[in-house]
Assembly symmetry: C2
Homo-oligomer: 254 residues x 2
């Protein structure tokens, strides 16, 4: 059994930085540790896979890595052979539906948790690393077979977490209100803790150790407790101890 290696980015775009640039050294260090030379890119969160691959490839090339698009191969074979996987952002519903349609949900999980290949997610790609996508901000433009996701970590993520704007006249729910609504569901709905990753957050998981890095604090929602501010460099390993995924049998996710 290998240890899981995950790098989960809140977003690929951060104000004042080029695409993925704020996380450049994080991504390079992460891939170098595993001696990766080629990254399998999963562009399923966008409609135009080729255009997305064209955007991502030069960025990784500049850092010294080759990039393959999962859509240019047999997806199952591509995942089986992958040295590392990068799942890009976009629409979480479209991403998860396509992962199911291509029958790679359990396979990616197995390659990451048992095979130990590095997994990088950004925004929607970080959302699907969680047990479910119940805390995405995205519009449900397509209907996935399930809201259960890759389950690489035992808690949900809210990427692009936004603080309430006290000056706003808009009466739609704030992000915090939406997450608290989730935690107020009656007991027949099993819910997870939620880590709100502000833009610029990166969550590093190396086996049973999880550390918050990047350029912004996170906000943690444990059910039944007040939300907590999580400063940079915090050790969040305790969030992995319950239901630690590598210890469990791989389950059919529907």
């Amino acid at each position: 059994m290998s240890k899981p290696h995950l790098l989960l980015l809140s977003s690929s775009k951060v104000h004042g930085y080029e695409f993925l640039e704020y996380a450049a050294s994080d991504i390079k260090n992460f891939l170098n540790k595993s001696g990766v030379s080629t990254v399998l890119f999963v562009p399923y969160a966008a409609v135009d896979h080729d255009a997305y691959l064209k955007k991502v490839t030069p960025v990784f090339n500049k850092w010294g890595y080759q990039v393959e698009g999962i859509h240019n191969n047999n997806p199952i074979e591509a995942v089986k052979k992958a040295e590392a996987i990068f799942v890009g952002g976009g629409n979480t519903f479209l991403l998860l539906k396509t992962l199911y349609d291509k029958q790679v949900v359990n396979l990616i999980r197995e390659r990451v948790l048992k095979g130990g290949i590095p997994y990088i997610g950004s925004s929607a790609g970080t959302n699907v690393a969680a047990p479910t996508i119940h805390n995405t901000n995205d519009m449900p433009i397509v209907y996935p077979q399930s809201f259960s996701a890759l389950n690489l970590i035992p808690f949900n993520i809210n990427p692009h977490y936004l603080d309430p704007d006290s000056t706003s006249k808009h009466k739609g729910e704030t992000r915090e209100e939406r997450i608290l609504q989730y935690h107020e569901l009656p007991p027949e709905y099993p819910v997870h803790h939620v880590l709100g990753l502000r833009e610029g957050c990166t969550l590093h998981v190396d086996g049973d150790v999880a550390i918050l890095k990047g350029i912004a604090n996170a906000r943690l929602f444990l059910r039944g407790k007040p939300p907590q501010e999580i400063p940079l460099e915090s050790n969040l390993s305790h969030l992995l101890t319950k239901n630690i995924c590598v210890e469990q049998e791989l389950q059919i996710l529907q």
Copy 2:
């Protein structure tokens, strides 16, 4: 065959107004036209049905109407006997899932489109009046059996429509970007036109006539065309002509 009578509110709360107050005269005129004395309230978009009923009842009582909660009755019998239905806002996913669980989706549709009883929706209650909930802003905190909804009108709604904020440093998608993503889906996904109702918009449907009223303009997204600004008092009846619901056989929505 009766004509459908719908009053679709973007939201129940608008800056500077008490709960539902901005739409008070619209709601009263709408119900008085049909000689309604009791409104069946559907609080399924919230977790606490009793608390929600307590909030809504005094507002309608003040206007001279009795209110019954669907959750205090056999829901199917309650819909069969209803003089008018008000579906309140909250979480659209929770609302639609509960409508399916209680087996009232087709029944409400039949009572409104064939029985001609007035339907008032607010926010999530307006979302589910559309063919699908693909354009809700809500967090998918529960998994409904389908994203197909009551299909009382032949186009989708985005309530609480928000204009892009050019001063924002946040890199999450704007509302407009999310709706355009929906319209860019490949042809295997059937998509609908989307009416973005800013807070304070009310859409009045009386048979084959649809008029935008309230205190804010709307924004219309016809697939393949640039978004259009829709001023108050605009006649939107042309949006009803395609697939006009009352002309069609009631269909199983799954």
